[in-house]
């Protein structure tokens, strides 16, 4: 394979890793900093992606009557990419607020089940209600930012810059927020809810804010994904691909550590791609099972991490602020 091809391949790897890094950062807010056991990442992934998709594409009726026969969307605003991103974040934040209302008072494992249920419910709704976003067929032809600037085959370089830029912006924002007084309270809550001498209502309020913040980030991740692949459908947002792998990334990199979240995303995505090379070596009869063998490896990887190095590669951040403790 020639150099150009290798670089192009690495670029596409980096884009996906960067997108997952965004998700991992969002999960880190939920779990790493607040102790919210969110197994429903796929739900926010889904909502973020679909929201951005529908904000940035026109209504099928406005394209042509024939098009409207094949594609059904509940709305289409045909606005630029950046609006799609922001819209995804806002809608996810709003949904997080609605979800948080009944569920944040629950204990951790109940919250986890609730998040599974919510993610599954969203996926089912998007799959079954064709009028919403074209049902199982999903949406295609999603626009990309800065589309006309270069030849299509070089476009990924631009998108890589976009993804990394957004990832860095998010990283810096989170680091800022965590060092603020708000962030310190969050830490205190996670360490010991009872000892942090606040009323129960206040604790719930902080958790809600954290839930919303993290979910908005996940929404951005979903939007980034949608505009990279240019097509989305409900079967992308499965518990395996949309939730589990992100948990493995955060655990591998180090929960409670933003650099760890990013590192974990890149490392685990690298391993995921690496397993592809492994399974390419498999005999023909097993080739069809390759993706499942790869997921099996990822699953085993998680268990090994949990037992032998639960703090991940980077461990938890030691000191958040010199002013604390």
């Amino acid at each position: 394979m020639e150099i150009g091809g290798i670089i192009a391949y690495l670029v596409s790897l980096a884009i996906m890793a960067g997108i997952f890094a965004v998700f991992a950062l969002g999960l880190n807010i939920h779990w790493g900093y607040t102790g919210l056991f969110n197994i429903g990442i796929a739900g926010f992934f889904c909502i973020g992606a679909y929201t951005s998709a529908m904000i940035t594409t026109p209504r099928p009726e406005d394209v042509s009557p024939m098009y409207a026969q094949y594609v059904h969307q509940i709305f289409g605003l045909n606005l630029p990419f950046i609006v799609g991103l922001l819209g995804a974040a806002l809608v996810c934040g709003f949904i997080a607020y609605l979800i948080g209302y009944p569920t944040l008072r629950l204990r951790e494992d109940y919250l986890a089940i609730a998040t599974i249920g919510i993610a599954e419910t969203f996926r089912l709704i998007f799959n079954n209600e064709h009028w919403l976003a074209n049902g199982p067929r999903g949406l295609m032809g999603l626009p990309q930012p800065f589309q006309g600037l270069v030849e299509p085959r070089h476009y990924n370089y631009i998108y890589l810059v976009v993804v990394l830029a957004i990832m860095v912006v998010i990283y810096i924002s989170i680091e800022r927020v965590i060092r603020s007084p708000w962030g310190r309270v969050l830490r205190a809550i996670r360490e010991d809810e009872v000892a942090s001498a606040m009323s129960g209502k206040d604790i719930v309020r902080f958790k809600m804010q954290s839930l919303i913040f993290g979910s908005m980030i996940m929404g951005v991740g979903g939007a980034l994904y949608a505009h990279y692949t240019k097509a989305i459908s409900p079967d992308v947002f499965t518990p395996l691909y949309g939730t589990f792998i992100i948990w493995v990334m955060l655990m591998a990199g180090g929960s409670g550590n933003n650099k760890g979240a990013i590192l974990g995303a890149f490392v685990v995505w690298g391993i995921w791609i690496g397993t592809k090379f492994l399974t390419d070596l498999l005999p023909y009869t097993l080739k069809a099972r390759a993706p499942y063998i790869r997921f099996l490896i990822i699953g085993i990887l998680l268990e090994i991490i949990l037992i032998y190095r639960p703090q991940g590669l980077m461990g938890e951040e030691k000191r958040i602020s010199k002013m604390m403790d």
Binding site: R289, L296, L306
Partner: protein
């Protein structure tokens, strides 16, 4: 509608087998076993392997019992598959959960481990059998019996109800009358005191996983007999399982049974108004509603 309720009871009884095992594990080990649904899957597929692979090779005949859809093969496969999954559950505990227990990891870490285990089981099933649907006995027409109120029920389903009832009664007798059963109940009440009394809590844990796994396997096989097998079947049961367990109060076996029946009926009745694929969502919504009103469940004892 009456038929939906009847079938809801059948479905509920299948859920009950999983929910009872789940509530036992939850009550004694105090963590949410997200892999429990996939234990059901494992049971169903082990039975499939026996019925379509091993037993034909051993020469066991394929005749069916009367109007039931299965015969000797399944009758033998049923307890063997239960035992296999019981062993596998104990093995999982030894390899995955016990090291975490030793390190005193919190319930969330253990739940994440269970989540990983659920994916591992599911991937193994797909690798070995593929991602398609399977049947224990493909292509058979399932004759139905007519009951009053124009309810149709299949002989298979009557047997499912009978099997679940028997297993539940056996479990009840075990927990009430045997020394290990009482030790399990004691450990669920107060693990520290159980240790202080000299009860070997590690052995109790092994029994808990064995029984939980065996019951889950039974549930999976019965579902496979009634409907079909597919690798995601256990995951689809996860929400109803947890909903039933939480509804009945964690650690409460009878609560789990009632909760499961309620879930089954609710899910089936919902198909009158919604598409069948929404069933897990229905279980979820019912669970959220209950949790909002009464977090300790209908029969919960107020134990944290």
């Amino acid at each position: 509608m009456a038929e939906l309720i009847v079938y809801g009871i059948v479905l509920g009884s299948i859920i009950a087998l999983g929910a009872i095992g789940l509530t036992l594990v939850y009550g004694i080990l105090r963590f949410a076993n997200f892999a429990h649904g996939d234990l059901m899957t494992a049971g169903a597929y082990v039975a499939l392997f026996l019925v379509t692979g091993i037993f034909p090779w051993l020469g066991i005949p394929d005749t069916t019992f009367g109007s039931l859809s299965f015969g000797w093969r399944m009758t033998l496969a049923f307890p063997i598959a239960m035992a296999c999954v019981a062993a596998a559950s104990i093995l999982f505990d030894r390899i995955l959960y016990r090291p975490l227990r030793r390190k005193q990891s919190g319930p969330v870490i253990m739940a994440i481990s269970a989540l990983g285990a659920s994916f591992i089981i599911r991937m193994i099933v797909i690798i070995l059998w593929g991602a398609d649907y399977h049947f224990y006995r493909p292509g058979v027409l399932r004759p139905a019996i007519m009951l009053p109120l124009e309810i149709k029920i299949r002989p298979d389903q009557i047997l499912i109800l009978a099997t679940v009832l028997s297993l539940v009664i056996l479990l009840y007798l075990f927990l009430q009358r045997t020394k290990m059963g009482k030790a399990m109940r004691a450990t669920a009440d107060n693990m520290e005191l159980a240790r202080v009394s000299g009860i070997d809590t590690e052995r109790v844990i092994v029994w808990t996983w064995g029984i939980g796994g065996a019951l889950a396997a039974a549930g999976g096989i019965l579902y496979g007999i009634d409907v079909q097998l597919h690798p995601g079947m256990g995951w689809h049961f996860l929400l109803p399982l947890f909903a039933a367990t939480i509804l009945g109060g964690i650690g409460n076996m009878y609560g789990a049974l009632i909760g499961a029946l309620i879930m089954g009926v609710a899910q089936q009745v919902s198909t009158f108004y919604l598409m069948p694929t929404y069933k897990p969502a229905v279980a979820f919504v019912v669970m959220i509603l209950i949790l909002l009103v009464r977090p300790q469940g209908i029969f919960g004892g107020g134990r944290s």
